[in-house]
């Protein structure tokens, strides 16, 4: 890096050119190795169905807000002398705590809330710091798990489909035989999967009313039913579509849709984000013998 001290631009460009030229000569072998070859051979199909195995991730900002949104300074605000300013608990994050813009993932860019539910979303958003289950590292629910800003791994065999999420170590065993209604409500719901041609369709029911759709306070009740459609678009992409139904929250079903990308680097792996430990100070810090000042 010493070569890049502030000097004449032409000299920098010359240095960069030389560096690249040298690198190209040295690294010819690297360029000739196709990245596809360096990842283990991956069968296109499993028991006649598209191979869903892999580490997948959404590339969007839907976890901030599933609807379209422009960038803003923070997730939580307080009144300011001219315009609202970041709330005290998030102020120190500066640009790191700002919200990136997004096109949204909801079909028609509108959620058909019933009036009471629309009100609740606004309250949720205003009280985001106290209410978002993600802040307390609670399980993300479905579909939110699929667009958290962390990957998940699908384990697909001829007998099972299982999803392990990096965020909070959430898991879903996709049942391939419908056991009937879920005997108990849960955060991640009960998933039952079946193939429709090359699309894997997962019906998720048996939710509790605790999870959210995003950090913008979008919510549901325990009547939520999510029908997910995973449709491969080549070996490294899945189109994900979810139909959301909840007659106590929404006036009609609505849809979200976004691509999932497969991590193709040869050393791709699911890491661990067991955040329970990370929120202990937030949740229990006041109960210490000597709270941290």
């Amino acid at each position: 890096m010493a070569a890049f001290r502030p000097v004449h631009t032409t000299r920098i460009l010359r240095d960069i050119f030389i560096a690249f030229a040298t690198a190209a000569v040295v690294a010819t072998g690297f360029w000739m190795t196709s990245p596809v070859e360096s990842q283990a051979a991956r069968p296109a199909r499993i028991a006649g169905k598209p191979n869903l195995n892999g580490i997948w991730q959404a590339l969007n900002t839907a976890n901030y807000d599933i609807l379209s949104h422009q960038a803003k300074a923070a997730l939580a605000f307080r009144p300011g002398p001219v315009v609202p300013v970041p709330a005290a608990p998030v102020l120190a994050f500066g640009a790191v705590g700002a919200v990136p813009a997004g096109n949204g993932i909801v079909e028609g860019d509108e959620i058909p809330y019933l009036p009471e539910a629309a009100k609740k979303q606004k309250e949720n958003q205003a009280n985001w710091l106290d209410r978002d289950p993600e802040i307390k590292c609670y399980l993300p629910g479905v579909p939110r798990a699929n667009y958290m800003p962390m990957p998940f791994q699908i384990l697909h065999s001829d007998k099972a489909v299982f999803i392990a999420y990096e965020y909070a170590g959430a898991v879903r065993n996709i049942l391939l035989k419908d056991p009937g209604p879920a005997p108990v409500d849960s955060w991640m719901g009960q998933s039952v999967g079946a193939w429709e041609g090359d699309t894997f369709v997962v019906t998720v029911t048996g939710f509790n009313d605790q999870s959210w759709f995003d950090r913008a306070g979008n919510h549901h009740s325990d009547k939520l039913k999510v029908v997910e459609r995973y449709t491969p678009q080549g070996p490294d992409h899945l189109w994900y579509e979810a139909t959301i139904e909840d007659p106590t929250t929404f006036s009609k079903p609505w849809k979200m849709r976004f691509p999932l990308y497969r991590h193709i680097n040869p050393d791709a792996r699911l890491n661990q984000f067991k955040c329970v430990e990370f929120v202990e100070e937030l949740m229990y810090g006041k109960l210490r013998k000597q709270p941290v000042q």
Partner: protein
Amino acid sequence: MRNILVGLAIASVAATSLAAQAPKTIAKPAALRTSDGKPDLQGVWTNATITPLERPQNIKDLVLTEEAAARMEKAVTDRRDRLNEPSDPNRTAPPQGGDGSTGAAGNVGGYNNFWLDPGERVAIVDGQRRSSLIIDPPDGRIPALTQEARTRQQARAKLAMGRGQYDHPEYRPLAERCLLSFGPTTPLVPNYFYNNNLQIVQTPDHVMILMEMVHDARVVRIGGTHLPKHIRPWMGDSIGHWEGDTLVVDTTNFPPQQNFRGASENLHVVERFRRADDKTINYRFTVDDPTTFTAPFTGEIPFRAMEELIYEYACHEGNYALGNVLSGARNEEKRLGSKQ
């Protein structure tokens, strides 16, 4: 647990020679294979058993007679039936400080028997009814700790003496904090309490082992090398390979907070999964840590197929205990402080 020990004591008296219990060889039907020809380990399994990890001192042999095993199992089911009798609705609260009972969660009767599911059967491996899960060393017991480990334990105990166990959440057990199951996670030794259930999903590249508690999926990579030493996931870092029809899983990189019988950062666990028949996996584990144990030790556990599903164990989301334990301690301090 006390009754199990009584059962084992009776069993030891009745135990006869090993010769009568020759291991059975069980054929492996082709149907128990995956499409890529590997033995199929998939399904929902339980490792619950009444056979303890370590052999009780008064039992000599690894193998129990059929009669001895039946007596042990009867002692457990008799106790279960007795504890399942309806509670007296007119009973009074336990006296302050507890009633001296030895049930789960202390001597005020935290859980009654309805909630417990510790297993009711003796572990059977290759047709042998076992008195301990540990098969090596031959006495069925965890080898002595090294001098280094004893010194470490003494230092830990000294540190713990100088502080209140309820002062901070970090002083509470990992399970109470909902970070991990309260049983060992790697190796997959039963907790003798409840939820000893696991699910295995297998692809050519990965084998996923889900433990019901705390919805912990250990994803074993087939082939490859271990993570850099500074990356220490809960449950360790597992890589696997096939030796014939046995899946061998090698786990290192345990975090310092996760302790198995005094071993943590240097713990090395090798697990061997072998399909025994259509309802059983024979699971063998070897634990090694020269900084903690004077010798490695090996155990065997049958995993029995279950028809039931595993449901969500959302521990942290419903963890009222940790907050209540800490606030209880703060209230107690206030009460004692105001008395002085």
